[in-house]
């Protein structure tokens, strides 16, 4: 939606840009993303040079032949070609002989195109939302005023009526005071009611105390602020990265493992800025995300400018979210690899989490409930024999983990 709006705005604000030109830029962008983006960025150096303003640096004809067959040009000793080849560590650019000049023009048009500042759009969005806030407040204020006036009016009416009554000689007798004990006294003196009340009070306070105590140490929903704002929503959600790509030790080890920073750099060596969707309400702008990527570079010691590792690293102190007590042994490989349980079963909709939080209670009851319901994989050769024998013995088709001894104390406590 936001995107469309922006394009609309762009066309409104820059009427001089023809529709055909806009189409060229769109086509150029598509070509750029599928062919060039792996090595080139618009505004900064990556594997190859930044492409913005490239048409000013080089002759258009030269660019045509460079893009189509740069290797040949280097071989032929074209001074500009050799210069750039030398500058980028003698890395040869892939040749694109399949590109027509028109397509190259489109790409170049895209590289020259500066998107307008989205500020006005943001501003309008803000004013609109502010406006709606104000209207609610006004309605509130108005209704409060109206109600106050109504109350005052009622009082005035009553006074007037009493005056009229007095004037017409009607006597209003006050109700005779009866000598009855107040209710609270009656209650206090009634032993049975007191007894029931005390019992009720004790029971309810015990209930609430128990409820309170039972949630101690259960950090469901714990979502600490991490030193680097890592968004699972962007990585696992928008980009569909498989959980175990980063948390690879979940396949073999008891730890799922917080990925080491070199794993991040598998992608982030090329992705230096964020270009996805923004969440403006929470302040997650592109700049914000890009800045978080810079934090990663800082930690891993990546010199973006020169595309080298400086060796000056600062390990990241993540805050651990899922904390099991020391006396519990949990093994990720058993669950994620052997039982093929989806990570989301315990960790929740991680692909929707902007900030990672603890989804499950991680209590023993929660573990055991699952062990009682889950079936073991009888196709795994390890289980085959015992499954055959035990299922016959218990007269069931499928054995649960519990039936195989999965709720014995020392399976998790040793």
């Amino acid at each position: 939606m936001l995107h469309l709006k922006r394009i609309l705005l762009v066309t409104l604000l820059f009427p001089s840009l023809g529709l055909s030109q806009e189409a060229d830029i769109q086509a150029g962008k598509a070509l750029f993303n599928s062919n060039c983006a792996a090595c080139h960025q618009l505004n900064r150096k990556a594997v190859g040079p930044a492409l913005r303003g490239v048409t000013e640096k080089y002759d258009k004809e030269w660019l045509y032949s460079w893009i189509k067959n740069g290797t040949q040009m280097i071989k032929d000793g074209d001074p500009q070609a050799v210069a750039i080849w030398e500058e980028y560590n003698r890395a040869v650019m892939t040749n694109y002989p399949q590109f027509s000049n028109e397509q190259i023009d489109n790409i170049l048009a895209y590289t020259n195109y500066t998107p307008p500042a989205p500020a006005p759009a943001v501003a309008t969005a803000e004013t609109v939302s502010q406006g709606s806030d104000i209207s609610v407040n006004i309605i509130l204020a108005v209704s409060i005023v109206i109600f106050t006036i109504l109350i005052v009016m009622l009082f005035l009416v009553q006074r007037t009526l009493i005056k009229i009554a007095n004037a017409s000689g009607v006597k209003i007798e006050p109700e005779p005071k009866r000598n009855i004990r107040p209710l609270w006294k009656a209650v206090v003196e009634n032993q049975f009611i007191m007894f029931v009340l005390v019992i009720g009070f004790l029971l309810s306070s015990a209930y609430f105390t128990y409820g309170y105590l039972m949630q101690i140490g259960i950090d469901q929903g714990y979502a600490p602020i991490q030193p680097i704002h890592y968004s699972h929503k962007i990585h696992a959600g928008a980009n569909q990265i498989e959980c175990k790509y980063c948390h690879s030790s979940a396949r073999v080890s008891k730890h799922s493992g917080i990925p080491s920073l070199n794993v991040c750099m598998n992608c982030h060596e090329y992705i230096g800025e964020y270009n996805g969707e923004e969440d403006l309400e929470n302040g997650y702008t592109k700049d914000f995300y890009t800045n978080e990527i810079k934090k990663l570079y800082n930690a891993v010691g990546w010199d973006e400018e020169n595309q080298v590792y400086t060796g000056n690293t600062q390990p990241v102190k993540w805050i651990r979210i899922h904390n099991l007590p020391d006396f519990v042994y949990f093994n990720h490989a058993q669950h994620a690899q052997v039982a093929q349980i989806e990570c989301q079963t315990c960790h929740g909709p991680v692909e929707e989490m902007e900030i990672m939080y603890q989804y499950s209670p991680l209590t023993m009851g929660w573990c055991i409930d699952c062990h009682r319901e889950s079936n073991v994989d009888k196709d795994n050769e390890y289980y085959q024999k015992v499954h055959e024998e035990l299922s016959k013995k218990y007269g069931v088709e499928q054995l649960t983990v519990a039936q195989l001894g999965g709720i014995e104390c020392a399976k998790c406590h040793y």
Binding site: S253, G257, I258, I319, N323, Y329, Y382, K393, A410
Partner: protein
């Protein structure tokens, strides 16, 4: 059972009216729970208790509301091989001058945490308690953290520069510098040292073994022209005659018991399938305790025994002093046995005189012993007593201007250590390579901090043609540099030691095997058949009179726990009970019962069962020290024993600063010394677990039989099924009728059993330390052990028997009726203590299928698993200790205190460095919970998970426990009895299987194999 032996654990049990024995028979805990101390007014009453309890509950609840913020710091760049949570194993080698072995080191997240033998290596691949514990010695806060000059920290660069300038100055002035090192047995180190000497010709290399093997080396050199030790493979002999050689602990480098154990289990068809082991000795050693016949003789008699055997065997006439009828009989038996076995016999000796050692070589050559290996002799010790004595006299005369020490601590291990340190202080130049600021380092100007062997490179040739490599298993913890690297720098080389080893191996050692593969394996073996030629053809016979003076023979020995004392600041080893005396945290004078009576020495138990002992003054012309006494059955009258390796004072915590330094008596590096002993006032408090945890005097604990009975008679005679009485009818304990439990079907899934073979177990205790390392067992200290609060999950009970020496008593015992008669009978057994037979029995949790502990737990914290394990959930335990009370085997251990992160227990678990040894897969228990052996459930679970991940069944032999894995003698077999192909099932179904206290119907999953004795009667 054929014979009923009465076993007893200590002299106290023989005491007719001992209150303590009675008390221990009635009570599991010998003392009441300590609640508050101090004067009467301060005694907390019930209301105080409630106040405190209320407050702490509230405090705990409030604290509990806010969880701590836990941080996780992943690698920046994760090494390929390291996956958090997955252990890596590296093959490396220990060679610290006393222990030599090829080992596998388990590392977790880069931290070495467990050591086991490298079973792929051809030889020298066993571990013992010290090697298993050496991983903890690396995490010692008393280690030297960087080089020092005159006590000041300095950078390595400056250090090297100033040492070089000193060496060059001394070299130009041609002043002599002595390089005093341990035996390295390392080809590349030898090369480096010779290059160093080329650069500085004024340097003389002297090798010093703290425990001397010089006489055996001299004898070998005299006989074959090579400085080495003959090697023996006891699996190839069925008659073993040992004259004072304690080969099951560390005689000539140890590693012998696995060979011995291979021939200890007979089969019914072949009488010779079980070896006969005859031991002549003075002290009661581990080897003597395991011998079929053990003969007591004093050191001078031992020489003549050996001589007499040699002369009789070669049909010569023995003309030495008369040995007396007792020894003569056994000499005759030895000679007959050797003759009968021929090549299959072997004679060894630990006597430290060259003549005796030469005779041993001649005997083995004469009988052409299969076990005797001189083509590939041991090169692990190289030291020469005479060379060392020369060096010391040169030091005294001022001929030497400088000293460099490496891997040795002469300031502690020399008999005249103080004098030596004074001499070193006066030298122009002194450099000490040391891991700690020990006695020697404190007297040296330059102290080079060296890494632990687990942080170092190294190569070794333990036996001719048997090469080993060691590699770092962790990045050096401190700013250390190993000896070889520094020597290379001092010689002006740019290479480091690693390069040198690699080049040397590639060009001189490896033939057809790559460097990478050798490093991965940790060893390289190239066999060359080069039997050395004898160069000396006759033996000198000893001609010393057998002395009969008032002086006693002091026999210095090394304990299985501390060895030569290098690792004396290792709390695991200090708390390790000696297999024979079962005393922890001490060394002591072992005295025979006869001598003790003569001198009025006593051992007695105080009211809580703890052991006290008299003090004596041990003295010779030079020294006199106060030592506590342990009265040791089997100690030869006229001799006393004292362990080396204790009494170290420098670079260790005060708790470890215990025992007396016996090296003071190690004159001329002879283990036998003449001393005078006099009783002095006062009593010593021992931390002995001897009378603790008694099995309540019930029998059915140990079952044993003789070889003849085993071969000739049916199982029902020597291992009958236990009968119990039901309605006054004798019924088999295995029958269903007498079972009060509802049986659970355990035929599906895994069902673990652990079998312990009493014939193979020699009580060495490697399993005890392995269990410590694997299961994070805490160290509790001397005072707590004295209160029987030791935490060992596996203990090795040692029982003395009275059989064999008093035949008449056996019948008397068999006809004993009633307890009072039993007591009077047993009090007559005092003479039996002179030379008893010994049995070792490792006892861990029995994992009873019908466990008495499980039924009494009020909170169901201990329960039974489908796989046969008796499970203990620490977090559920509230500490009632009912379970320990109800356990017939007394294997449950209670955490009386918080043993980790508690200044009151200032051992390895109280500092960050020491805690690095903790196994992350096992919980560290906190105060107030019961704990016990889990049958290493973390290991079985891991094996199962590995199989699941690969989608396959578990193969036999994959299931292991820490104890079974560490048992080089294969005495412990662990596995799944539901696997029809498994070894454990075969063992379990064997005739020798029995269960301890079977009549009470606990159905343990830990089973034992009946001990068979090959005792020869004369």
């Amino acid at each position: 059972m054929g014979k009923k032996n009465i076993y007893w654990k200590g002299f106290e049990e023989l005491n007719k009216n001992s209150e303590i024995v009675e008390k221990l028979e009635q009570n599991e805990f010998v003392e009441k729970i300590p609640v508050g101390e101090g004067d009467k007014d301060n005694n907390p009453n019930r209301r105080d208790f409630l106040k405190y309890a209320g407050f702490s509950t509230a405090a705990a609840a409030i604290v509990g509301c806010e969880g701590p913020v836990i941080k996780s710091v992943p690698y920046v760049v994760q090494p390929d091989r390291i996956i958090p949570g997955i252990a890596n194993y590296y093959a490396t080698t220990i060679a610290d001058g006393f222990d030599f072995s090829s080992i596998l080191v388990k590392t977790r997240e880069g931290r070495p945490i467990f050591i086991k033998g490298n079973k792929d290596a051809n030889s020298m691949n066993c571990t013992n308690a010290r090697i298993n514990a050496s991983v903890l010695s690396m995490y010692d806060i008393y280690r030297l953290q960087g080089p020092k000059v005159e006590g000041q920290n300095i950078s390595w660069n400056d250090f090297n520069l100033s040492v070089i300038s000193e060496l060059e100055r001394l070299s130009s002035q041609n002043k002599k510098v002595v390089l005093l090192t341990q035996s390295f047995a390392s080809p590349t180190t030898e090369k480096i040292i010779s290059e160093f000497i080329q650069k500085y010709p004024n340097v003389q290399h002297v090798i010093y073994d703290s425990i001397s093997n010089s006489s055996a080396l001299d004898a070998f050199e005299n006989s074959y022209g090579q400085r080495a030790l003959a090697d023996y493979d006891f699996s190839l002999s069925n008659t073993i005659i040992s004259i004072d050689a304690d080969f099951m602990s560390d005689w000539q480098g140890g590693n012998y018991s696995s060979g011995w154990s291979k021939n200890r289990v007979p089969n019914k068809e072949n009488e010779y399938s079980m070896s006969y082991h005859l031991q002549f000795e003075s002290n009661m050693t581990l080897t003597g305790a395991n011998a079929d016949n053990r003969v007591m003789a004093n050191p001078s008699e031992l020489r003549y025994v050996l001589q007499s055997i040699y002369l009789n065997l070669t049909n010569q006439k023995y003309s030495g002093p008369a040995l007396g009828p007792y020894l003569d009989r056994y000499v005759k038996l030895a000679v007959e046995s050797i003759k009968k076995s021929g090549k299959k016999a072997v004679v060894i000796s630990g006597l430290d005189d060259v003549d005796s050692q030469e005779i041993v070589l001649m005997i083995n050559e004469f009988i052409n012993s299969d076990a005797f290996d001189i083509s590939s002799p041991r090169l692990i010790y190289q030291g020469s007593d005479s060379e060392l004595l020369n060096t010391i006299s040169e030091l005294k005369s001022g001929n030497i201007s400088g000293i460099i020490t490496a891997g040795v601590n002469p300031g502690y291990t020399l008999p005249n250590a103080e004098e030596f340190l004074n001499l070193v202080n006066k030298l122009e130049f002194s450099l000490c390579f040391s891991m700690k600021e020990d006695e020697t380092a404190n007297s040296c100007k330059y102290v080079a901090a060296t890494p632990h062997y687990l942080e170092s490179w190294g190569d070794y040739e333990f036996k001719t043609g048997h090469y080993y490599l060691s590699q770092p298993t962790i990045k050096p913890l401190f700013d250390t540099n190993q000896f070889q690297d520094v020597i290379l720098t001092l010689s002006g080389s740019n290479n480091n030691f690693y390069d040198e080893i690699k080049n040397n191996w590639r060009s001189n050692i490896l033939k057809g095997k790559t460097w990478g593969k050798s490093l991965q394996d940790g060893f390289y073996y190239s066999y060359e058949n080069n039997i050395p030629r004898r160069i000396k053809t006759s033996a000198n016979l000893v001609n010393l009179p057998i002395q009969n003076t008032d002086e006693l023979d002091l026999i210095l020995y090394t304990k299985v726990g501390l060895g030569d004392g290098q690792q004396s600041s290792n709390p695991w080893l200090q708390e390790f009970p000696d297999p024979i005396t079962r005393v922890t945290w001490d060394n002591y004078l072992t005295v025979s019962y006869k001598d003790a009576e003569r001198l009025g020495l006593k051992n007695y138990n105080v009211s809580n069962g703890a052991l006290n002992g008299s003090y004596v003054n041990v003295s010779n012309e030079k020294n006199s020290i106060k030592v506590p006494v342990i009265i040791q059955p089997g100690q030869t009258p006229g001799t006393v024993g004292l362990a080396l390796g204790y009494g170290k004072t420098q670079a260790m915590s005060e708790h470890m600063n215990i025992g007396v330094n016996a090296y003071k008596f190690y004159n001329d590096f002879k283990k036998t010394q003449k001393v005078n002993i006099s009783k002095i006032k006062g009593d010593h408090e021992f931390a002995c677990i001897q009378l603790h945890n008694t099995m309540m005097g019930r029998d059915e604990i140990i079952k044993e039989t003789t070889l003849e009975e085993f071969i000739e008679k049916d199982k029902s005679i020597w291992n009958p099924t236990v009968m119990v009485s039901k309605n006054h009818i004798e019924t088999k304990v295995t029958s269903k009728e007498v079972d009060i439990w509802r049986e659970f079907d355990r035929s599906t899934g895994h069902h673990f059993n652990l079998s312990i073979d009493l014939n193979k177990c020699n009580g060495c205790g490697a399993c005890v330390i392995a269990c410590h390392a694997e299961n994070n067992v805490p160290v509790v200290g001397k005072e707590e052990v004295r209160k029987s609060r030791d935490m060992h999950w596996i203990r090795i009970d040692r029982y003395y028997s009275s059989q064999d020496t008093i035949q008449g008593d056996v019948e008397a015992k068999d006809s004993t009726k009633g307890f009072s008669e039993y007591k009077s009978t047993s009090s007559n057994l005092e003479k039996a203590s002179a030379n008893p037979q010994v049995v070792f029995q490792p006892v861990s949790c029995m994992h009873c299928n019908h466990a008495p502990c499980e039924t009494v737990c009020p909170v169901a914290a201990t329960s039974h698993g489908r796989q046969g394990q008796n499970q203990m959930a620490y977090n559920r335990c509230v500490g009632t200790r009912y379970c320990a009370n109800n356990c017939p085997y007394k294997v449950r251990r209670f955490n009386w205190f918080q043993y980790s992160q508690n200044d009151e227990f200032d051992y390895n678990m109280n500092n960050d460095l020491g805690r690095m040894v903790i196994n992350p897969d096992v919980n560290v228990r906190s105060r107030g919970v019961m704990e016990k052996c889990s049958l290493c459930i973390q290991m079985t679970q891991k094996t199962i998970l590995d199989a699941k991940k690969e989608g396959r069944r578990v193969k036999d032999g994959e299931f292991k426990t820490a104890c079974s894995e560490s048992c080089d003698d294969n005495a412990m077999v662990f596995g799944d009895i539901n696997d029809k192909e498994s070894e454990i099932l075969k063992v379990k179904d064997g005739d020798r299987t029995y269960r301890v206290l079977e009549s009470i119907g606990t159905k343990p999953n830990v089973i034992y194999q009946v001990k068979i004795r090959n005792t020869k009667k004369i």
